[in-house]
């Protein structure tokens, strides 16, 4: 129960953080990326806190990846003002984040 709840929280935070990051990258004007990358970092910092407290097994890691992908896709679909290139870089950004958190 506790671990499931943590997976929910972790993937919530990571999906929103990655949505900010991807939004900054694909926005037609790169100046946003520089100035608003902070939003993504602030949320990811909180996700890192949850991640560092847990020892995930391989089953958990698979579940985190699946949930993160599903949630991020939904987040990106909802934000229709972000360029459609967002879906092209989604998997790459998920992999980078998971690697950074040693979840892959």
């Amino acid at each position: 129960m506790g671990k499931n709840n943590d997976i929910e929280q972790l993937t919530n935070l990571m999906s929103k953080s990655l949505r900010h990051k991807i939004g900054s990258i694909v926005n037609e004007n790169e100046i946003y990326a520089e100035r608003y990358a902070k939003d993504s970092d602030m949320i990811m910092k909180e996700a890192r806190k949850i991640n560092s407290k847990k020892n995930w097994n391989s089953y958990n890691k698979v579940k985190i990846k699946e949930k993160l992908r599903k949630k991020l896709k939904k987040e990106l679909e909802e934000k229709d003002f972000l360029d459609n290139k967002k879906f092209e870089i989604m998997d790459e950004e998920i992999n980078k984040a998971l690697k950074c958190f040693e979840l892959e």
């Binding site: 919530n12 935070l13 929103k16 949505r19 900010h20 939004g23 926005n27 004007n29 100046i31 946003y32 520089e34 100035r35 608003y36 939003d39 602030m42 949320i43 909180e46 934000k79 003002f81 972000l82």
Partner: protein, 262 residues
């Protein structure tokens, strides 16, 4: 010939700028003598925009920043913005620089160079002038930032605002996330500022930082405002007050956009 040296400042004359021979040297350096003038130190002027005079130490530091940055030939103008202008204790010094041509890692090089020279932390953002102009036109937070600054040249950004709906929606993503996520309270504080700035921008109202902060105090009360400003822990009741405020502001902003802003 005897080695005669004196130092004087160049002063403004009616037709030409001039250097006076000191009175005690008038018999040594006389009319008709040939002299050579060597530039020893460039006079640095700080241009204040809507900004109270800074203490001497900060002025000295900023002059040092400006003189050190002369080394980078691609720099056109330098703006000191952010907390160093209004806080006694600041984390880093925010500098916005306009440049001719961006080269790889220039931001990082400038930050490292200044930190090494002046033993302070710096955060540098580089823009070419056109990009900065565009940002000032469409971005409420950049307009807040450029409401007051200190620069190395007299520059006034008098660009008319343009409403870019996509950009405003982009800016609203973070406040919207705060309706669901529990993040440190100072993030709530900066996003309340963001919302008031966006609303004021759309309504053509004042974007002076002090006024935005006073509005937060007025809306949520001084006590809670100070708490979140200082990143203190807040309880569920306080989080609800903040979320209610955020919800209301987001709704207002979306309505203004929907109905065509003023």
């Amino acid at each position: 010939m005897e080695n005669i040296i004196f130092e004087k400042k160049v002063s403004k004359g009616s037709k030409f700028n001039q250097v006076y021979i000191p009175k005690e040297m008038e018999k040594i350096v006389e009319v008709g003598d040939l002299v050579q003038i060597k530039l020893l130190d460039k006079h640095k002027v700080l241009y204040y925009k809507n900004q109270k005079k800074l203490p001497d130490f900060k002025e000295y530091l900023i002059k040092k920043v400006f003189s050190n940055l002369q080394k980078f030939k691609e720099i056109k103008s330098i703006f000191i913005v952010g907390s160093v202008l209004y806080e006694t204790i600041y984390n880093d010094i925010d500098i916005i620089i306009t440049i001719d041509k961006k080269r790889r890692n220039l931001e990082r090089n400038i930050e490292d160079f200044l930190t090494k020279e002046l033993n302070q932390k710096f955060h540098v953002l580089l823009f070419d002038e056109k990009k900065l102009e565009e940002l000032i036109q469409i971005d409420p937070l950049t307009r807040v930032m450029f409401n007051n600054y200190i620069s190395n040249k007299r520059i006034d950004f008098d660009y008319k605002k343009k409403t870019n709906e996509k950009h405003i929606m982009f800016l609203l993503m973070m406040p919207e996330d705060l309706l669901e996520l529990s993040l440190p309270s100072k993030i709530f504080y900066s996003n309340l500022q963001r919302l008031i700035a966006i609303e004021n921008f759309l309504k053509n109202k004042d974007l002076e930082r002090e006024k935005l902060l006073n509005k937060i105090k007025k809306e949520i009360g001084s006590e809670l405002s100070n708490k979140i400003k200082n990143n203190k822990e807040i309880n569920n009741k306080e989080i609800n007050i903040l979320r209610k405020f955020i919800k209301r502001k987001i709704k207002n902003i979306k309505n203004i956009i929907k109905n065509g802003q003023k």
